[in-house]
Symmetry: C2
Subunit: 328 residues, 2 copies
């Protein structure tokens, strides 16, 4: 990298990759999975178990639309981190938050944010165990979530095999459709808006899927289905064939936002913020996982030479582009 190159020219993903590579040069006797490799870092903490840990920084301008309540801001700050923990199959054991707030912030606002975090942590079976408060012009929240998982149950982004079924929990594109509705003054019910403002981390599903031993790889869909599939494709040297007709579109999206197939496909593939689990399962183990949580089979793992594609309703096949991420 040249001396004068700016962060904006290099791009966030490339910068993270470059830094992750440099961090990997250090030795760490406790590290199992390091920076840039997965949703969480994984540490070997005992004969039986791994610790998983992840951190995320959010701030007012990019991550918290004005319509969000302080409680929802707190909830989301915790949820995005617990979603990463969920994708490893780990049981959450704690959450830490650093709050950067302006001195003229109402104490009641901070209390509501904190309550949102505490409620999300409680919903995930754990609690807020520590944190920091810092003076800051712009509301900034950094969250760190920790989880514990038996070694034989750890799920990572690696493991997908050609022939595996591709599954996803919940709906695809709901958060993106809700954001679109927000920006375009389309009235939507709270059940849809809350997919955007109060994402529900799939920690129970993640643990059950891991314990089933039927899942070959897993990650969350926070950056959108398309980017997630491409990440899995790169890591596992496989391709994906997704069926458009199988994509789980929330009823409220069809009913309130659009019934245009192209728009629906765009929401489902290329917008983020859903925080569902995307995972692969051997076909003969599929009925094992279908009994443990609500999921949709959306396609197949195929040979890498076939690329990552989607079969549309009219049987045409489209390449899935490497784009996504919901920047609020």
């Amino acid at each position: 990298m040249s001396e004068s190159q700016k962060v904006s020219e290099l791009g966030e993903r490339s910068l993270i990759s470059a830094l992750s590579r440099s961090f990997k040069n250090s030795t760490n006797p406790d590290l199992v999975i390091g920076p840039g490799e997965d949703d969480c870092a994984v540490l070997d903490i005992s004969d039986e178990g791994y610790l998983v840990v992840t951190t995320d920084m959010l701030h007012r301008k990019t991550d918290f639309p004005d319509q969000m309540t302080p409680w929802q801001i707190g909830w989301m700050s915790a949820a995005v981190n617990f979603s990463d923990v969920a994708s490893t199959g780990a049981r959450p054991i704690g959450f830490l938050s650093s709050l950067g707030i302006s001195p003229d912030t109402d104490v009641s606002f901070v209390e509501e944010v904190s309550k949102g975090m505490a409620d999300c942590a409680k919903e995930c079976g754990t609690s807020v165990i520590g944190g920091d408060i810092d003076t800051h012009d712009e509301l900034t929240i950094n969250g760190t979530a920790l989880g514990k998982v038996k070694k034989r149950h750890l799920l990572t982004r690696r493991g997908a095999q050609v022939g595996d079924k591709v599954c996803v929990t919940g709906f695809a594109g709901s958060a993106g459709a809700a954001l679109h509705a927000l920006f375009n003054d389309i009235e939507i019910p709270a059940s849809l808006l809350n997919t955007l403002f109060e994402p529900y981390p799939r920690v129970t599903e993640g643990q059950k899927l891991a314990q089933s031993r039927a899942v070959s790889c897993m990650m969350d869909t926070s950056d959108g289905l398309a980017l997630s599939l491409h990440d899995l494709s790169d890591l596992n040297a496989v391709g994906f064939q997704i069926n458009e007709s199988s994509l789980p579109i929330q009823y409220e999206v069809l009913n309130h936002v659009t019934d245009d197939q192209d728009e629906l496909l765009n929401f489902a593939m290329y917008t983020g913020g859903d925080f569902e689990l995307l995972f692969t399962v051997s076909p003969d183990l599929l009925n094992k996982v279908q009994n443990i949580c609500c999921l949709t089979v959306i396609g197949d793992v195929v040979d890498q030479t076939l690329g990552t594609t989607i079969i549309r309703g009219d049987d045409t096949i489209l390449s899935i582009n490497r784009k996504g991420y919901l920047q609020l």
Copy 2:
């Protein structure tokens, strides 16, 4: 708290106390020491060991004077967290950082910050294991450090007994004196300036002190000796009698900043940023710890009714005020 009260009116310490109390209402089956109780949260992760974890948010305006190099900014972001880990006696096992940076930041700046973090983590026997990058107007760095400690070796802020000796590693007041020199254009050698810009986390000393089983309680001096002593006084229901003549003042402070006793006392007691370990030891075990690291005995644990005082050179006794913390 009233609805309209501002954070600035309540104050940071009171706000943290209030939030910590609310977080403690949640149950957490893994938690041993929770929010607001110690330098680190402590989690029960196995039959043998505890996990300690701490997080700190720093930002340009308050924490990084213009004179700091990007490498030093990175180093400090890691060091302040590892110092908290050190104070529990734990062995560091990883560091995560979230970088909030403006898009027009030079990539080389970010690389240097990251190198500073990586070098500090390496010095502490571990590495950077993960993180996040966020777009932010003001440079903001959130660090999270993790450590592991055998259950019988965990040190906390609780345990001081009347009659114990009060000890501190390294020097007292160096960082505060260096900051004073910086603000007043007093030329000082790098060896003094670096106590401010490159604090050295006492992770080796912390582990050895914990393993000695001779230490009754420990914390770091990041908020200054006075505040630290008052925190220990409150938690342990004891008082402290400190001898001014015993305070370990760095030679360069005397030689370049001031030889005025009142000023020296002010630096040593009421400025922060030193990141040394403050601990108490039973007198009959003192020679055990004196052999394992460089420390200074600065006073005694006394009955709570005697308060927290300092014996000056002229044998007068002064109360130590509850003030401190170096706000850069």
